[in-house]
Every structure is written in C-alpha cells, then in structure tokens.
Symmetry: C2
C-alpha cells in the first residue's frame, strides 16, 4: 500500500484520453507515443507473426540476410569511369528500344509526361518527324519499351533513354557492377518532364555533340572519379543529392574545370560546357542516381532479406523490389505529390509521382538525408525543423547508419540507410520521398516540386510475397 501514499506519476500508453482524464484529476501523466504494430491491422500482424514469432529459424535467417544486404549497400564505392553512348554501353540496348522510369509500362498506360518524353526521344532518334508520327510509331509497336532498371540504368522523371543519348558510366568499385544514366538537361522545358519542343531537341543534340565529348575527354584525363566522396562532402554542404544538388554540382565543376580546359575542344565550346553546368544545379542528380543504383544492385537476390533494393515510379504505378524476392515488382497506383508549384501552375496541372530518382531514398539519401539539407524546404515545401524530423523518423524503418554519408546538424550521425520492408509494415511509416512534379499533359514540362508518400498497398503486397517465399524456401 505504500506505493499509493507517494506522489504518483502515471505512464499512459495508447489512447491519450485515459491520460487526459487523470490529468484533469491533478495527476501527473507522462504520455508514451505507442501504436500497435501495423496500425493494429490483424491480417498484417498475423503475417508478421508467421515469420517473426512462430519459429526460431526465420527471424535469425532474416536478420542475417538483411545484415548481408545492408553491408553490401554501405560498402559500395561508386565511381564515374566515363561517358558513353547508350546504344554502345547499356546492356542489350538497341535502336528500337526505349527505356523508361519505374516498373514496366506500355504506351497505352503511360502518363502524359512519359508519352511526351517518348515522343521527343523518337524525334531525336529520327524515328519520327513530329509528335503525331511518334505517337503512331509508339502505339503500333514499332519500338519496344523496357524499364531502365532492367538495363542497369536509372532515369529521372520520365527517365526515357534511347540509343544515341550520351550516358554517365558508373562503376561500384567494390563489386564491379555498373550503372548508367543520361546527362541532366536542366529544369523547366526538358525531355524528362515530358517536353519535346524544338528547343528541347536542339539542347539534346548539343548535349551529345558538344557536352558529352568534352566531358568524356576531361574524365579520361582525370581517371575514375570518386562519387562517394563528392556525395559525402555535399551532405556537409546542404545537399541531399535528390532535389538539392547545388554543392555536389559545384564540387564536380571545380574538379573537372582544370581538365576541361586541357581538352582538345575549342575554348568557346569549353566555356559553353562550363556555363551549362553552372546554369543547372541538378546536373549532379544524374550522377547521384546511378551512384545509388550501382550501390543497390548488389543487394538484390539475397534469400531471406526484406531490404527494399528498388523503389521507382513510371507516373502510372509506384513499384518496389525486395532483395529476397529478386526481380519481382510490387506495384500500386502512383500517388500525387504534395508540393510547391511554379508561377502559373496548380495541383490540377500535376501528373502523378514519376521517376527513378527515388533510388536516392532507396540508398538512404534524398528525403532520408533531408536533415543535411534544410534549405531544400524552400524548393519542396515545409520548414527546416520538418527536414530534421523526416530524417529522424527514417531511422525507424532502416537497417543501418551510413558510415560515410553523415549529417553535420545531427552531430555527424550517419544517414538512415537500407529500407526494411518489415519495419515499414510494423511501424506503418512509409519512406519520405522528395521529388519534382511534371505537368500531366505531354509537351509542357516541370510545374513544381514537393514531398510524396509511397502507397502502403505496394508494401503490403510485397509483405505477402515475402512471407510466402520465405516459408517455402
């Protein structure tokens, strides 16, 4: 009875109303922010129980598989080895193949900006003379479509890659695998946002005829360029290398500038190349993306691992792939983005969430590293303290803290890295993703940027697949 003679402090767990009533009676209450696993969903709790509670072997198998997967991820060392032409360097690329972002999608199901980008690419390749011819060509099956992800490639927004486009060649020097990505065109009216006007095509031609050869020569003079080091530094300089790449782009420019000047190109072209890169703070995005892609690819196909090694969207569907389930996609309709719009545009103009750029979040960067980039809220909305909160939350759904990618404002804590499907289900918390917004119609381009919540249903589908597979393995 002595207990009740003392001043009691009550810890309340679950429904806050219990605590509130006690507080009204003058009792001191400490509220504990507790939720039942999987938001109390019985079906999901049952699935989790099947693998985590009902035997001893599976939890240990999953634990070891995830350790192996995330170890590969944090030990990746992406380097730029050069620039090539997509048709020459991307595996199984050919003249009538159009790569696109996200999970597989055919012309009929493509969203506006992806159709716009396909139209532009077919005009660029000389397979069509105008939008109408390009749409005909695409709809009657004269070209094939495949996800970038199936060809060791990633592409921002529409992510369209065709044979003549120049691409960055990255290599994960720890494991020897490669990844490819086109060169970034800038913001506004650009192919990846679905624009295909003459201005867009002219820029793409300049990029392959002037920009790529000069950059390629400078890279050859430089030798393999350590991208992990640039990303690590950029995180100390306010970037999260998805929607903020100003520091990383600056570091790339200053590294390459002395070598660009030594190239055989004439100085007016070199000057144009330097001005083009200076004019485009997203230039490094098309390097950070394949850096993450080549870091994540070796994490795929580890039996029993619930690590999410791909998240991606094609503007129609959001899709994920799970390490232990190999190349299988789990998809759900692509969500809308909650964001800030460029002058003259509103949410009504927006296409659904699109692009492979969420590969950065998959690797523990982008939205997961927003605490390193508080200034990004000026681009995607929100305030600086939210940026910190987003990163803090992501530790609850990830497997490791990155040993090289660190956040100065959190006393150099490593970024939350390696998303665990099971932790998402258990906490009910989906990955934080920041992204650009394309116009819903083909031919227009960028209209804004913001934050997007991946649909829980694709994680639920993946869980079902995961539980079934691990029980039958």
């Amino acid at each position: 009875m002595k207990l009740f003679e003392q001043d009691l402090v009550i810890v309340n767990m679950g429904l806050p109303s219990f605590g509130k009533n006690l507080e009204r009676e003058g009792v001191r209450v400490v509220e504990m922010d507790w939720h039942p696993p999987a938001s109390g969903n019985h079906e999901l709790i049952d699935l989790l129980d099947q693998i985590m509670m009902n035997n001893d072997e599976l939890p240990s198998k999953i634990h070891h598989a995830n350790s192996r997967a995330v170890d590969r991820l944090i030990n990746a060392k992406p380097v730029i080895t050069g620039i090539g032409t997509a048709g020459n360097v991307i595996p199984e690329m050919h003249e009538r193949l159009v790569l696109h972002s996200g999970p597989p999608v055919e012309w009929n199901a493509m969203c506006g900006p992806m159709r716009g980008a396909v139209i532009g690419a077919l005009i660029l390749e000389g397979l069509a003379n105008n939008a109408e011819e390009a749409a005909d060509c695409a709809s009657r099956g004269d070209v094939q479509f495949a996800p970038c992800h199936h060809h060791q490639t990633v592409g921002p927004m529409a992510g369209v890659v065709t044979a003549s486009m120049p691409v960055w060649i990255l290599e994960n020097s720890t494991f020897g695998n490669k990844a490819y990505c086109t060169l970034n065109e800038g913001l506004g009216k650009v192919l990846r946002y679905g624009a295909y006007s003459d201005e867009v095509i002219t820029r793409l031609i300049w990029m392959k005829e002037v920009l790529a050869p000069i950059l390629s020569e400078a890279l050859n003079l430089h030798g393999p360029l350590d991208v992990r080091s640039i990303i690590a530094q950029a995180l100390q300089m306010g970037d999260e290398v998805h929607n903020r790449n100003r520091a990383a782009t600056s570091l790339l420019i200053r590294t390459l500038a002395p070598l660009l000047v030594r190239s055989s190109a004439d100085s007016s072209n070199v000057s144009d190349v330097l001005a083009f890169m200076d004019g485009n703070d997203h230039f490094f995005l098309n390097i950070s993306m394949p850096a993450c892609k080549c870091a994540l690819d070796p994490c795929s196909g580890i039996p029993g691992s619930s690590l999410i090694n791909t998240m991606s969207r094609n503007g129609t569907e959001f899709g994920i792939r799970i390490s232990g389930l190999g190349d299988q996609w789990f998809t759900a309709p692509a969500p809308m983005v909650d964001g800030l719009y460029l002058p003259g545009f509103t949410a009504r103009d927006a296409a659904p969430d699109i692009g492979d750029s969420v590969i950065t979040e998959s690797a523990g960067l982008g939205g997961f590293a927003m605490a390193a980039a508080p200034a990004i809220v000026q681009f995607v909305g929100g305030n600086a303290s939210q940026a910190l909160t987003f990163t803090r939350q992501m530790y609850d759904i990830t497997l490791a803290e990155h040993p090289v990618y660190k956040i100065p404002g959190m006393d150099f804590r490593g970024t939350p890295t390696g998303i665990d499907l099971l932790k998402i289900i258990e906490t009910g918390m989906v990955p934080v993703v920041n992204t650009g917004i394309a116009h819903r119609d083909p031919g227009i381009g960028m209209v804004g940027a913001g934050l997007v919540k991946p649909p829980m249903s694709c994680f639920v589908k993946a869980l079902k697949g995961f539980v079934k597979t691990i029980q039958t393995e």
Copy 2:
C-alpha cells in the same frame, strides 16, 4: 494565506544553492539563469548607470545611433569590381609602405609570424635579398608600417600587403566605399602565416604574373560580382566564410570558370588557375574579409553609437574600434587560441591570436554564423551542437538579425549582426571568434586552427572612452 495552501512552484534567481535546498525539502523549483550585469563589477555597473539610468536623453541617443549604424551594416551590398595592384589602387600606398593586420605595431613589437611575413614581402619587393637584410631594412626604419585598416584594406593572419601585390577591389555599392585584400595563397607554408621560403616567394610571383591577370580579365568580362549573394548562398551550404569557405570558393569558381576560359591567356595557364583555386578552399576568405570591411566602414563615426565596427589583432595586441569613437583603437594583449593542431605541432608552437579576419565576426559572420557551418568543428574543434550554441549566444550581444545572411538549421533566422559594446559589458559575454593558428617563429607557417576569446579588458577600456565621450559631446 490561500497562496500557501496551494502547490507552490518556486522560481529561484541567482545562487542555485537556495533552490537546491528547497528541492531537498520536496518543493518544485524552476532555476532561472540570471547573472548580475557586468558580472557584478561595481565600476562597470556604475559606468553603465551613468549612460543608461541617470538621464533620459542618453539611452535614446545611443539607441538611435546604434539603429543608424546597424542599418548601414545590414544594407551593405559588397561587390567585386576587379583586381588591381596594391600600389596603384590602395589609398596612400607606396613602395616603402608595409601594411599589416591589427592595430598599429612597429617592427620591435611584432610577433614571429608577422616578422616572417614582412621579411617575405621585402624579398618579394626586391628591398632585401634574404631574411637578414630584410630584418635590417625593417629595423632601421627603411620601410614604414601601417595597419591595413587605415588604408581601406584587410589581411588575414599577418596581413602583410606591399606595393606589387595584386588585390581584390570590392565596393559597397550602397555607399560607394571600397575595400581591398590580397589574393589567398592556400594553407600551410604561406606568407600570411609567416613563411618566406623560395616556395612562398615563387608562388607570390606566380600569383601576380599569372593568377591575377587572368582573374582580372574574367572579372572584366563578368562585370561587378555580387558577393552578398555568394555569402548568403554559402551560409546555406555549410560555410561561415571565415574558416570554412569551401562552398563560397566553389560558387566563385563555377561563376568565373566559363569566363576564365574566354580570357586571352593560354589554356595551360587557365587550367593552372582553375586547379589553384580548386586546391584552396580558403580562396574566398580574401573576398569575404573585404566584403565585411566595406560593409563595416560606413558604420564608423556615428556619434553615440556603441557598435563595434572593427575587431582586429596583430599577434601582439587585440584591438577594437567603436563607431561613436571614430578611429581610436582600444587594445589589450593578444590572447592564445584554443584549437586543434596539425600533426607535429602543439600549443607550445602557437603564436598569439593574429589577423584582420575577425572582421567577419565583426560583420556577423565567422564564429557568429557557426550554426550554419557545423562541419567547421572538424577544423577548429568542438562539436556540432556547440556551433549552434555559439550562434544563439551571439544574439545577446548584437543589435540585429541579418535580413540576407540566414541560417537554415535555425529555420532561416538571420545571423546575429552588429556587435554592441554595451551588451558585451552588460552580459560579460565576449564575441565568439574562430581562427587559424600561426607558428610563433618566423618562417614556419600554419600549425592549427581553433577558437579564441577576445580579451575583456579592451572592451572595458572602450567603455570608459565611450562613457567619457558621450557625456562631453
């Protein structure tokens, strides 16, 4: 009596032991962190009372004078207008004049690194052939000495400027006044840290013969270059533009690179210039310093203003100047720096605090903006949360928050700007300064970097001068 029947919470102010005793009796106590003004020093309290309590006019005069002074400071718009030769552009500069950092000091009283820098400069100017001749020349009065600050100039560390050196020309476009600073040589064995070996002199010759002319041509192609904008961006990118200038240097390089390529110089020299800037993250320091100098100069000479418009040190003395007291210096012995040392060096190798670079703190940057640059603690010591604390404390001794220089990690709060002598005396809190550390002997160079506390005694001297002047005006 009803009061005492309730649950009481005690607010304890001053000595914590009063509160501790009550807590031991089970009483809830809220401790208030209160200190008597001027740490209870009666002489200082009396001086503060004379101007703040004993009449109505003075407080209002001081208030208005300070508003005017700090308004000038935050409305400054520093731009680079070009590069010139010190002897041609710095007011009253001549071939036998040696400018140095800090308040006035003659050869006999100079510290080791300043003597080393003077020796190097006299060799560079052809006024001596070796260290011995240079020391003779300096000691027998063949050259004159004057503070940079008396010639619209600032110099990091020893701050030595002689006639043939190239200098950045900055203009405060709001008020039309100018400021000058040499070009930054890099870290390690460099003139400003007191080194004067052949390697140092050769680099200085290359800087005037190759670096400066090419930069000058690019600047002419560019037109006036907005330094305020670069500083504002760099604060979003982890710089505080005193001891961390990586972002600002990167932004400068990417801005100038396309124009450097268009200069008439041959490409191998242009490549060397780009590589030199890329190899030196402090390159922008010699721009941020004159940017702050030209922002602060118009704040001088406002009767009744207690704004500190100069802080500076020559390695022998730390000196300050007060707006309302014009060009008068108030000095105290230069303190030692508490810092991190380069391999092979310890605190025993260190010279006292030296350099004009504390002009950045005087303008609300450097140590005052450390919250924007948590990564700087890796260079000067401490941890990331301390960086935040330093900035927070500085709001207590400043007059304004800068409308353009903002700190992302503090939800874009403006940097604490415009140091108020009276607030320093009242709070007993001196400005936070981060700085490099030179070897105490001439000829060696940099040995570390750290944090330094300006000596309270020069602020006390300035207070006495201020009270006397304002009462007799």
